[in-house]
Symmetry: C2
Subunit: 411 residues, 2 copies
């Protein structure tokens, strides 16, 4: 009988006492090794291109040469980029705080003085975006993702109707977790749509701007330029970081926006710091050198990561293909694979996997308030484990799915 075989396989899996982790999008040791040179830079020469002693105070906006280096990748002119600390999440945090405690450009009042502040959240999405809003009492409104980005009919309808809707979270390239890249039409509509809130903000978390897995890099439309053309120059906050370019805890982050927003942001920033870590900025310039150096470096990452994404696709195809029990994304970049199981099964699959020693991000984490109403979406993070561990974990995950399917009489 089908269910007995599924049970037997699962007991066998449990008996192996695995301890495998597919939870977070962390680079592997081998990826971090690619940046080993950073650990002894800058050495004796601590002087920036303009003669600045990077060891001392100052330089609120960040080294111009580093802003130039990332300008193309982030699609922001160097003069409109600010270099932050080691965490782009912290820059997003600060952006929200500044909107809450100061009047945004084009706005009428501080967001804390609004009756209601809500953000549109394309789902599946990134749990840390949602948690950040939740912490500050910002309401989260899910909108569905499509293969071209957020469902723009829905986004346009909501944004136009409700002045309490102040923003939208976007991971426009190789989105977390489904790997979708926004189409040119989606970007143009986001940039130009009417919004009821005069200070509506697109939080454009371009976290995977240069994180291609194939030799055909995805390009997305230039949202800052499109917003300016459409008469909405101050609508977009662009975020980026080198956390998955160089070292995950010790990279640099970026904020980019219109000249007015950059001045607004710097106005707050100047009260809260004398400047970010310029020695680390210089390290990054010396190590990556230029745009070509950045591309070469990311190619090495792709060589390490691609086999892992391919393994997930291959094993899932072999073990679950044609069963009707699962579907999954095959992204051309980024850090995640979305894994969909039949409605009502995700929590149980994650629970069974955990019992078998395979840690997955909690089911529901891809949705606001941790609540996936269909209970079907699971996020797989394949980069951190070694390839052989990953293969065992994915095969084990398939075992869990088959058991849940059999228990529910599915497939």
């Amino acid at each position: 009988m089908e269910i007995e075989r599924a049970r037997r396989e699962y007991e066998e899996l449990r008996g192996r006492n695995l301890k495998l982790d597919l939870t977070r999008g962390k680079p592997s040791s081998a990826q971090l090794d690619l940046s080993a040179e950073l650990l002894r830079l800058p050495g004796d020469d601590y002087t920036a291109a303009d003669g600045t002693d990077t060891r001392n105070y100052g330089g609120l906006q960040g080294l111009p040469e580093l802003r130039s280096l990332f300008s193309e990748a982030l699609q922001v002119p160097p003069g409109q980029l600010i270099v932050g600390g080691n965490s782009s999440l912290a820059v997003m945090h600060d952006s929200i705080v500044y909107c809450l405690l100061g009047v945004p450009v084009g706005g009428e009042r501080r967001w804390t003085d609004e009756e209601r502040v809500a953000f549109l959240c394309p789902v599946p999405g990134y749990d840390r975006h949602f948690a950040l809003c939740e912490r500050f009492g910002i309401e989260l409104i899910p909108v569905p993702m499509t293969p071209a980005g957020p469902d723009m009919d829905e986004v346009e309808r909501l944004a136009a109707a409700d002045p309490g809707i102040k923003g939208i979270w976007c991971v426009p390239k190789y989105s977390n977790p489904d790997g979708v890249s926004y189409s040119a039409e989606t970007v143009a509509r986001l940039a130009s749509m009417p919004t009821a809130a005069p200070d509506f903000r697109i939080f454009w978390d371009n976290a995977y701007a240069v994180h291609h897995l194939t030799d055909e890099p995805v390009e997305i439309a230039d949202v800052l330029a499109l917003a300016a053309e459409a008469g909405n120059p101050d609508r977009v906050f662009v975020f980026g970081s080198t956390s998955k370019v160089t070292l995950a805890g010790s990279g640099v982050s970026f904020f980019g926006s219109s000249p007015a927003n950059v001045a607004w942001f710097l106005g707050f920033l100047s009260k809260g710091t004398i400047g970010a870590d310029k020695v680390n900025q210089l390290r990054h310039v010396r190590f990556l050198r230029d745009e070509r150096g950045l591309r070469e470096h990311m190619r090495k990452h792709a060589e390490l990561i691609r086999p892992k994404f391919e393994a997930v696709d291959r094993i899932l195809g072999k073990e679950l293909g044609g069963t009707g029990l699962a579907s999954w994304s095959s992204p051309a970049g980024g850090y995640f694979i979305t894994f969909e199981v039949p409605a009502g099964c995700a929590k149980e699959v994650v629970r069974k996997a955990a019992e078998a020693g395979i840690a997955l991000t909690p089911a529901g984490a891809t949705h606001p308030y941790g609540d996936d109403p269909a209970d079907r979406t699971i996020r797989i993070a394949p980069t951190f484990p070694e390839l052989d561990e990953l293969e065992v974990a994915i095969s084990g995950l398939a075992t869990c799915v088959r058991l849940v399917g059999a228990e529910r009489g599915l497939g």
Copy 2:
């Protein structure tokens, strides 16, 4: 005639076309050179004491070995310390933001929901503390400094009477700018005084905890322990940094408080970052090694700085001693000297100095809203210039004071 001689001297000074800067408390190049080793650390060994790969994500509270290293200096148990990024000002900023947007431990509501939030500001004090509060609409109430710290009669009277008074800024050791260290009695009174606000907070910016200039280091009382003993365990936020220990733009910062406050702070922090730069934390551990290493390192700083403080004292004594036109502090540590001129003269002295190419912090910057009602306090930052430049600048400053004095018929 006295005034003609003073004018002649001043014109001579202007004719020298100086370009000297006594504005900010920046370490000199020679001081930064003391930490040259940091620029090639950690090298190949990027593993923390507990086996953590410092290059990857995680570690919200910071490396335990770094917290241990600074525990004694900051008078905070390692378990109650959090390591932040490169700026303690940013940690103070975040602390205020968390109080504004979340209910502080022991408080009744978010500070944004209070009718009024005010901070006591001992004057002269640090302009960046004041600017930070001002940016967020927090009212600033000056209280005078005494040779033992803030005027505690006044502080106790105000804090007990007014529930809108939510905090006080303190630089307890070698205070910015007058070099005063708080007496044991002052610390005990701050820790134990009744406050009308249940969530009153002491912002204890121990910026110069180990920055001694003499061989007799000043010790201050343990404010965290005293507050806990007095039944006010959550009253104190301790801040510190290595900005003036290692590299001014590339050090590490600290937050320390009660266990409840640390949990509260981490609760916010976890939404805004995955953790601070652990490679830089490891760099600091490898470089400073232990408490003895820290003390030895600070002794080298003192050797470079002390001659500058001595020169200021010597030149001011020679040029202005006995004239009745000025008095100044002779601190045993820290980064600043307070220079007092006759009432109503500070702005004019700073203006004349600027015209002669000697940049000073704006008169009034040591007071809330940039307003020194007596217009007499000037802050001198002697560390950054080379010794010979400093001597020229201080002598020039004396020239300006003599001219202003003569013009006003003083001295």
